[in-house]
């Protein structure tokens, strides 16, 4: 059966060019960068080269980049050690953050911190003036994601960064979904801390980064042999980081052309779905949106059923319906945007990527149209058809 992977926001395949770059570091150049001999030196050199590529991509300095094992680890470091190392007792987050930020903030609450959750509008957008209003004398950290993983909404992080810098409060952004897709400049955007991940941008899993601006008081989450300049102990996963570096380089080189291509596919897909399927709606912002994200919802059908009917036809998508979640609750992101339970129920996300072809997108829309019709035939609600 023909199979189409339209779930790039979950994870991406490793680009063959990335794999090629990684292989030597799993084979003959397997050395530990902490070793003094030539094997170690070769590995260390590759590691530093990756660091340079990554730093340049966000306009950071090489010694501001800490390689970690996952975006979850980076985000945990921000909340569990950096927040504690800096002065203050209050943090501010958006309600649509990834679970690893939400749960880290919850942990911090358990340590006696106060957490303010900002409001968002129906697109999921945070208003910079709300951030300004929420900042107090004891605020240590503001954390607002760059782009949302479910709806693809891109937050005004440059403006939020300016608000935070003016108030002298640390600003962290989780850029796991956006890095490599839209430009990031940590200087211009006044970002103090930034999280990004390799496996969302055609690199391997097990590599991620935390940008820590010079001058920000740092405290490591992992203590040990003093790797990464003492900022993150653990034997360095050189091959994965080399892959990450290569992946970042490719994304930067191809960002403009690929972004344009994906935006066209995205907009075609959205307009076709809304046109061809009655009672279908777009979730998230029509323009302030990642180039690869399509998130729609349908009345009268449930997301898991839609997903599995698509899967039966070889099309991989994702849903945030209550039935599909381990707690049987609808997505916190959609609810925060003011969607009612039953609206979140029929939500579906397609996320396209570098290897998505036009034919795949066309077939996906056609199959979706059929699947929704079939499920509505089974549903007790069919209003107006």
């Amino acid at each position: 059966m023909e199979r189409s992977y339209l779930d790039y926001a979950a994870t991406t395949p490793v680009d063959p060019r990335v794999l090629e770059a990684m292989l030597p570091y799993l084979r003959e150049q397997f050395g530990n960068p902490a070793s003094m001999h030539s094997f170690g030196r070769d590995a260390a050199q590759a590691l530093e080269q990756a660091r340079e590529t990554v730093a340049k991509a966000i306009n950071a300095d090489v010694n501001e980049i800490v390689f970690t094992g996952s975006a979850t680890e980076s985000n945990n470091t921000v909340f569990k050690t950096i927040a504690l190392a800096n002065k203050g007792k209050h943090v501010i987050i958006s309600p649509i953050e990834h679970d690893c930020v939400l749960n880290s903030a919850r942990w911090l609450k358990g340590q006696g911190y106060e957490v303010t959750t900002l409001p968002v509008d129906r697109f999921g957008l945070v208003k910079p003036q709300d951030v300004a209003a929420a900042i107090r004398h004891d605020t240590v950290l503001v954390s607002v994601m760059h782009a949302n993983n479910e709806m693809g909404t891109i937050e005004p992080i440059g403006e939020i960064g300016a608000v935070c810098r003016k108030a002298g409060v640390l600003f962290h952004t989780d850029a796991a979904q956006s890095f490599g897709k839209v430009p990031i400049d940590v200087r211009k955007m006044n970002i103090d801390l930034l999280t990004a991940s390799s496996h969302k941008m055609y690199g391997p899993r097990g590599a991620a980064l935390l940008f820590v601006r010079k001058g920000v008081k740092f405290a490591p989450l992992l203590h040990g042999g003093g790797h990464e300049g003492g900022k993150r102990s653990s034997t360095v996963n050189v091959a994965a980081i080399v892959g990450f570096g290569k992946a970042v380089g490719l994304c930067m080189d191809e960002m403009e052309a690929e972004g344009k291509r994906e935006r066209q596919l995205r907009d075609w897909m959205i307009s076709q779905i809304l046109e061809r399927i009655p009672k279908s709606y777009l979730n998230g912002h029509p323009e302030k949106r990642l180039p690869n994200n399509v998130n729609v919802r349908f009345d009268f059908v449930e997301g898991e059923a839609v997903l599995m009917r698509l899967d039966a036809e070889g099309i991989a998508a994702s849903t945030a319906s209550a039935c599909s979640s381990p707690k049987l609750e609808p997505s916190h992101v959609l609810l925060a945007c003011g969607l009612r339970h039953e609206e979140a129920h029929g939500s579906l996300r397609f996320s396209i990527g570098r290897f998505t072809k036009e034919e795949e997108v066309k077939r996906a829309v056609a199959v979706l149209e059929k699947v929704i019709k079939e499920l509505r035939d089974i549903s007790p609600f069919k209003e107006g058809r």
């Binding site: 009268f300 449930e302 039966a312 039953e342 609600f381």
Partner: protein, 162 residues
């Protein structure tokens, strides 16, 4: 995650749709996740001769609806009303624990349809069916509140057609 049987019923459900002039209708809602199941029966000489369902729900809910129509067809009302979640889950080759409540929905819908039939015919209603009806009624209220607009339009359309 899902058994082969579940996926087969899900992909090609048996007996879905409406029955014209049904002898009994069971309408239930799932308070846990917000799903809705409507079940229609035709009865002759105390036996279910035809049965159809309409379900707004997940893979497990659709598969449970489909299998219960198979299980109930040709059975006496008494036997049909006694079909519980265990029989449904077993016939489906198992359900993930978190999805067992979807099979309860199907069993509830069927006993409600039987209840509706007995009630309409002025027949005696067994005590356990009455008890079940009370419990389901409460949950149904909660769920129909949620889908108020959709339910209203749908019921109006039925009336218009009738």
């Amino acid at each position: 995650m899902y058994s082969k049987e579940v996926l087969e019923h899900f992909k090609q459900p048996h007996n879905y749709g409406k029955i014209k002039n049904p002898d009994g209708v069971g309408k239930v809602g799932n308070v846990v996740c917000g799903d809705v199941m409507w079940l229609y029966i035709k009865v002759k000489d105390g036996v279910i001769t035809d049965i159809k369902f309409e379900t707004f729900g997940c893979v497990a809910a659709l598969a449970s609806s489909s299998i219960i129509t198979d299980l109930a067809k040709g059975k006496t009302l008494e036997k049909a009303a006694a079909i519980g979640r265990k029989e449904i889950v077993d016939s489906l080759g198992g359900l993930p624990p978190i999805k067992v409540h979807c099979s309860v929905l199907a069993s509830d819908a069927l006993s409600e349809a039987v209840y509706d039939y007995l009630k309409k015919k002025g027949k005696e209603i067994p005590a356990d069916l009455e008890r079940k009806h009370k419990r389901i009624g409460k949950e149904k209220e909660i769920i129909e509140e949620k889908y108020h607009d959709w339910v209203k339009v749908e019921e109006k359309m039925h009336e218009d057609k009738a």
